[in-house]
């Protein structure tokens, strides 16, 4: 296969990955790594490098739209970025010391859990009524626009939330994904932050988290221009189209279909990891 054909395939696959990732809220990275490794036989380290780059592009590209809606809480974001950037560096260090088979299996497990998470009913808890003292001291409680007025919300579970964010950062640095699902889990479930605030703040944080390990990956030669170029442009394009469509379509059925695709990819990654083929 000549490079032009490979670049074209990668770009087309990345557009689809970015489109579905934006539409379902699962991000493009989760599909791009199986596509590169399983379908195109590319070494997983190159795949991780290219995916991490595309994660920064989609997170930053969508940030403006999210921020304008007024749901992003930059104090929560910055406080938790202390945890995710620390975790991301640790994850990138770990990636250099474990075998690619182990990375493939861990990737498969993360993929599997985010696929399964899709089937859980979506919900919107009102958020914590009373904030914990730690959250108040950190000035984390905030408000979001609600109709004409604004809705105040409290924050609790600062320590467990922070801890899970270190894990989220670690997975991002180890696997080259945004790990938005884990970030949302930490904010929404543990810190009882309203769902919409959790998802938009998570998106805001993903780019910073990815940038923390991206520099280390560039230094290690994981980021090759030939592969990162079509992936970054494809995922960015796909996600921009996806975020436009998101406003007009009901994506529940699509979410289910995509979740099944992810679960199958996850099983294949795990199998290949154990078989030593990655």
């Amino acid at each position: 296969m000549s490079y032009s054909v490979l670049a074209l395939l990668l770009c087309a696959g990345s557009v689809v990955a970015g489109f579905l990732g934006a539409l379902t809220g699962l991000g493009g990275g989760v599909v791009i790594i199986p596509l590169m490794t399983l379908a195109l036989g590319i070494d997983i380290r190159y795949a991780i490098g290219a995916s991490l780059i595309s994660v920064i592009a989609t997170s930053s590209g969508a940030a403006a739209a999210y921020v304008r809606e007024g749901f992003t809480n930059i104090r929560i974001g910055m406080f938790l970025e202390v945890a995710t950037t620390f975790g991301a560096v640790a994850g990138a260090v770990l990636a250099g010391h474990v075998s690619t088979a182990v990375i493939a299996v861990v990737f498969g497990l993360v993929l599997l859990s985010s696929g399964l998470q899709t089937f859980r009913a979506t919900h919107d808890i009102a958020g914590a009524a009373v904030s914990s003292p730690a959250a108040v001291r950190l000035r984390l409680p905030g408000h979001y626009p609600d109709g004409g007025g604004r809705q105040e919300y409290g924050v609790t579970g600062v320590a467990p939330g922070f801890g899970l964010m270190v894990v989220a950062g670690g997975l991002s640095g180890l696997l080259g994904i945004g790990s938005g699902a884990v970030k949302v889990l930490a904010m929404d479930r543990l810190m009882r932050i309203p769902f919409k605030v959790s998802t938009t703040t998570s998106n805001f944080m993903i780019g910073v988290t990815a940038a923390a390990s991206a520099g280390i990956y560039v230094g290690r030669g994981y980021v090759v221009p030939e592969l990162a170029m079509p992936v970054m442009l494809g995922v960015l394009g796909g996600s921009l189209i996806g975020s436009r469509v998101l406003v007009v379509t009901h994506s529940r059925i699509l979410r289910r279909v995509f979740a099944w695709v992810i679960i199958l990819l996850a099983l294949e990654m795990i199998y290949n990891g154990f078989a030593g083929r990655i």
Binding site: Y46, G61, V67, G70, F79, T85, V218, G219, P225, A228
Partner: protein, 132 residues
């Protein structure tokens, strides 16, 4: 899409957030344009080649450090131009954090200035070629 009814007052958290969001978007668009230009050049130069990515050898040494990448771009090498675009992309969230630092300092929120400084240090360490 719900929008705040009025433009947020300057100096407030909301105004800062909107500014940061725009900054991120502009950074991504500039980076994507540089990557696309380098990419077209790359396809013209090496489109017919048959590179092997099945086994890992890593990017060329010159493409692994900021200094090396910029030197390659100045020499108008396709690789260097694409990689410069990717560096711009990585720098975008870093710049966002740097701007937040300025915003928090203006609000005299020293706790958040400190937290932001920590994040900024981790980010610049990775980019400056520090390998843990």
């Amino acid at each position: 899409m719900t929008r705040p009814p009025e433009t947020p007052p300057p100096g407030s958290d909301e105004a800062l957030e909107v500014l940061l969001g725009r900054l991120l978007q502009a950074g991504v668009l500039v980076a994507a344009a540089v990557v696309a230009i380098g990419g077209i050049y790359l396809l013209i130069m090496r489109g017919g080649g048959k590179p092997a990515y099945a086994s890992f050898s890593g990017a060329a040494t010159a493409l692994r450090s900021v200094g090396g990448i910029l030197a390659e771009a100045r020499a108008l090498k396709a690789d260097g131009i694409v990689q410069t675009g990717l560096l711009l992309l990585i720098a975008t969230p870093v710049l966002r954090v740097a701007f937040s630092l300025f915003g928090f300092a203006r609000q005299r929120d020293w706790l958040y200035v400190l937290l932001t400084l920590f994040v900024l240090t981790v980010l610049t360490a990775g980019l400056s070629g520090w390998q843990p």
